[in-house]
Amino acid sequence: MSKHPTITKDFSTVTAISGPLLFVQKTQNISYGEYVELLSSDGVLRRGQVLETSFEMAIIQVFEGTSGLNLKDTVVRFTGEPISLPVSSDAIGRTFDGSGKIIDGGPPIIPKEKLDVNGSPINPKSRAYPTDFIQTGISAIDGMNTLSRGQKLPLFSGNGLPHNDIAAQIARQAKTKRTEEKFLLVFAALGITADEARFFRKSFEESGTLNRSILFMNLADDPPIERILVPRLALTTAEYLAFEEDYHVLVIITDMTNYCEALREISAAKEEVPGRRGYPGYMYTDLATIYERAGRIHGKKGSITQMPILTMPNDDITHPIPDLTGYITEGQIIVDRGLHRRGIYPPIDVLPSLSRLMKEAIGSNKTRDDHREVSDQLYYTYAEGRSLRDLVAVIGEEALSERDHLYLHAAEMFEREFVSQGRYEERSVEETLDIGWRLLSNFPESELKRISPSTIKKYLPKSTLGV
């Protein structure tokens, strides 16, 4: 596709191999970041990228890993071009592997364009602030941490928690008030198990989402370093379809923890000074080049909404992976082990969860006029109940006042009735808010400090329990 015929240069001066890196000597005119192909005696074609270049040496990261390569037989072919991906709306409904090769047995795709997978930053001046409400049908999200079109909102989870079910449920149920628009799901798997991959595929098939999905699959036994590339393939495709072909794209990437492990492996092989817990100091910036590829643009119809999933090592939210992610994304949904153990699905802990774009996505002509006040009051009520729960653990329930008992009870109800719902239960935002009101109706009006008297008058059902 490029205007100039590509001039490739072959070198067989590999002098060292270390982890995923290859060191090539006496290279000439090799540019930073360019795409490299490796030919070796085992006949496997491997791909790589230039990480450092000088007159003496080029350092190359090899996506397929270096196992099986030797110094003598390896030929390094420099292409002089950045890594690029052919894109086209024909990719819709198709499945690719982590290198962008078709693996669904279908016909080849004729590309419309070939794009640099690293993309370019969106000019902040061109961004349109996300304001369109996406209804996921899940109360803990819609009611308390509303998702908005063009937002990047990750799931922070842990091993063995049902984040996949939640993601699949969102993919199945997500909708906006406007029905006429073109939706698309781009799914990037990074090192997930074959079981998990099957689960997602089946779930997309059942809900009829598969024919409007594009899947990029790097599974647990696929090359780990390739995981650096996979989100970029997914997002390059998403950008093309959103901003050139007007699609509203939801991008699910799972598991970002595996991405960060790959980043750490490369950094260690380069013998860089490690940052916190061995992850490279530039991990924040690197993650930003993925997460910031979401949003809306003035004058463009389409949008990219990102929902990355990551498993927190040891459920530790201060671990660099969730920590740096939280510093970049527009909030986070926390999947909590405690709630899961108590049998609550979805086990979303709304207190540490956050949607920063909620304020513009809710209200009278988006969800309902009472939304902000109800969610503020529910937050207050639940937080109060939770801290009382902690107190009870220390001093016992006897010491509590009447008012305290109300809050304690409300926290329980909030988890059992508001947060908890079926995997196939799709609640409208109005239903969600009504459940909230039902819960609040157990309180005397004077406790509902976050809600204005007029809203109370309009929505508060007559209490059934009464106080």
Partner: protein, 597 residues
């Protein structure tokens, strides 16, 4: 210039944002160079012999060893003149609106449009005449930059010690490159137009620093009340992700009583810049009713833009702030987040293979941080008329894992005078602003107390002191409750707990998106304190006479206190009168009841 440009170096090595080059004899530190066939702007950050190291302000993909490096002979500078306000620039002052027009919604490399329009005419009104003696900083005339900054001063350049005006144009419309005056000094004739350049790493000179203490009024209760910042002061807002740093900086940009706001979005989110760009033109300045964007300059290096430009962005912002200060204005600079700037510094340092200090940051981290905050201050600026101007700096800090013991937070705390510690636990309870009232402090508080007491209300500082004491007591009482339960508290201790709760929930909390409460005037702030304090004084009397707390708590008036926030600034006076009256009456009748018994 010609000679310099013929001196072309050669790229030897490219590692991320850092480029090594040779054949660079004669270059100087921080000189700007153009790198490679792509003509990318970079800055020399290390010299050894004829080898140099360059940090490149744009993505370096595609650069190769052997490509040329062109010297410019000048340090990295910003362009100063009318038309900076109401604009958004990147970290090296490229105008993003023009970039968008020229190359679309993705930022393209190697493009450097003019910072200020060369064709726009400005109406210049001279304030000096021919034969007037002038010195550096004297204002030669004003142009009307926009309705919120009608007097943009065109100043005598900083290098003119003393001179006489040999020519000055009449009132009229001129473009920025038109000559408006000529100044004759001992040895030179200096031509002045409306545009200047200034190197970003060099503080603009002032006459002297001064110690006057005026509050920067922010409309945020907890700040104006408990932890105020002075004009020309420095403050840090550290906090984990999602604790409210950005919202606070947006709030301050909207409401602080500064003449000019410079907002540096340093390594943060693109959408947060979009939010300011969309909201500020619609928000009205509280005093004039004009769009707030007119007093605002945005510098955006969002998290996926090049990190070397991130390192430069805060200096770019600071230099623009100093320029408006020099005209005699109060400027407030927000930097969100200084941690991203420090990380950029760390990354470049590590590419240079410098010896890493604590957590990999270079050993000079803390001196760079203090040099930056040193540029804040209240001062007499250059010029013979004794004008004052100030730059206040408010820096967000994003400590990893919300752990404040890390180097960036610690180095910052050593230099700033105000510490607004954001607390993850409070944020998760949706107590906003999540400023922790026990650990935060303002070293200006004592000096500003006298301003508030003499200019605003004589008992202002007494009230704020009472609040702090009660909050402190609450903490101690909480300890008892945790050990032995609430029953161990006496009625008057329970009252303290109740009062503290009211202070926290009804006074300290302030919803940024509330129409009535986003901005709280000093008057409303004061009257809220008065009402709460009145409630406490009266309740204490009742408790001492044996009235149980539960009776007081169920009064309509005490419950209505919690709706104070929903009352607007305008309606508050009336609310106050009614509320005080109601409190007085209800409490009096409780007292009567008990006396009858």
């Amino acid at each position: 210039m010609q000679k310099l440009e013929s001196q072309v170096g050669v790229i030897e090595k490219v590692v991320g944002p850092v480029v090594f080059a040779k054949n660079m004899t004669g270059s100087s530190m921080y000189e700007v160079v153009k790198v490679g066939k792509l003509n990318l702007i970079g800055e020399i950050i290390k010299i050894s012999g004829d080898h140099v190291v360059i940090q490149v302000y744009e993505e370096t993909t595609g650069l190769a060893p052997g490509e040329p490096v062109f010297r410019t002979g000048a340090p990295l500078s910003v362009t100063l003149g009318p038309g900076l306000l109401n604009q958004i620039f990147d970290g090296i002052q490229r105008p993003l609106e023009i970039l968008e027009r020229e190359s679309g919604f993705f930022i393209k490399r190697g493009k450097y449009p003019d910072v200020l329009s060369k064709s726009k005419k400005w109406h210049f009104i001279p304030t000096k005449k021919i034969n007037d003696y002038v010195q550096a900083g004297d204002i030669l005339g004003f142009v009307n930059e926009n309705p919120l900054l009608e007097k943009h001063g065109i100043m005598v350049p900083t290098n003119v010690k003393m001179g006489v005006i040999s020519k000055i144009v009449d009132e009229g419309d001129y473009v920025i490159e038109d000559e408006v005056a000529e100044i004759k000094t001992d040895d030179k004739l200096i031509k002045v137009n409306m545009i200047t350049k200034w190197p970003i790493r060099k503080p603009r000179p002032i006459k002297r620093r001064i110690d006057i203490f005026l509050p920067l009024i922010t409309g945020q209760r907890i700040i104006d009340g408990l932890f105020p910042i002075a004009k020309g002061g420095t403050a840090a807002i550290p906090g984990g992700f999602g604790t409210g740093k950005t919202v606070m900086q947006h709030q301050l940009s909207q409401w602080a009583d500064a003449k000019v706001i410079v907002y540096v979005g340093c390594g943060e989110r693109g959408n947060e810049m979009a939010e300011v760009l969309e909201r500020f033109p619609q928000l009205k300045d509280p005093s004039s009713g004009l769009p707030l964007m007119y007093r605002t300059i945005l510098i955006a290096n969002v998290s996926n833009m090049p990190i070397a430009a991130r390192e430069a962005s805060i200096y770019t912002g600071m230099t623009l702030a100093e320029y408006y200060r020099d005209m005699g204005y109060d400027v407030a600079l927000m930097a969100d987040s200084t941690s991203r700037w420090a990380e950029a510094l760390r990354e470049i340092s590590s590419r240079l293979e410098e010896m890493p200090g604590e957590e990999g940051y270079p050993a000079y981290l803390s001196s760079r941080i203090s040099e930056f905050y040193e540029r804040a201050g209240c001062c007499e600026v250059l010029g013979s008329d004794g004008r004052y101007g100030s730059v206040s700096v408010i820096g967000a800090v994003s400590p990893p894992g919300a752990d404040f013991s890390e180097p960036v937070t610690q180095s910052t705390l050593r230099v700033v005078k105000v510490f607004w510690a954001l607390d993850t636990a409070l944020a998760q309870k949706r107590h906003f602003p999540s400023i922790n009232w026990l650990t935060s402090y303002s070293l200006y508080k004592d000096d500003l107390n006298s301003w508030f007491d003499t200019n605003f209300a004589s008992d202002w500082s007494a009230l704020t002191k009472e609040f702090m004491q009660i909050l402190q007591q609450e903490e101690e009482l909480n300890e008892i409750v945790r050990l032995v339960g609430p029953d161990a508290l006496s009625e008057s201790q329970k009252l303290v707990m109740e009062y503290a709760k009211k202070i926290r929930e009804d006074y300290l909390m302030q919803h940024a998106y509330s129409l009535t409460d986003s901005y709280c005037s000093l008057k409303k702030n004061y009257k809220m304190m008065k009402l709460l304090s009145y409630y406490y004084t009266k309740s204490k009397e009742l408790i001492n006479s044996g009235v149980p707390l539960s009776k007081i708590s169920s009064l309509k008036s005490t419950r209505d206190l919690s709706r104070m926030q929903m009352v607007s600034n305008e309606e508050f006076d009336q609310f106050y009168i009614k509320m005080e009256e109601l409190l007085r009456m209800e409490m009096a009748s409780l007292m009567e009841e008990i006396n009858l018994e």
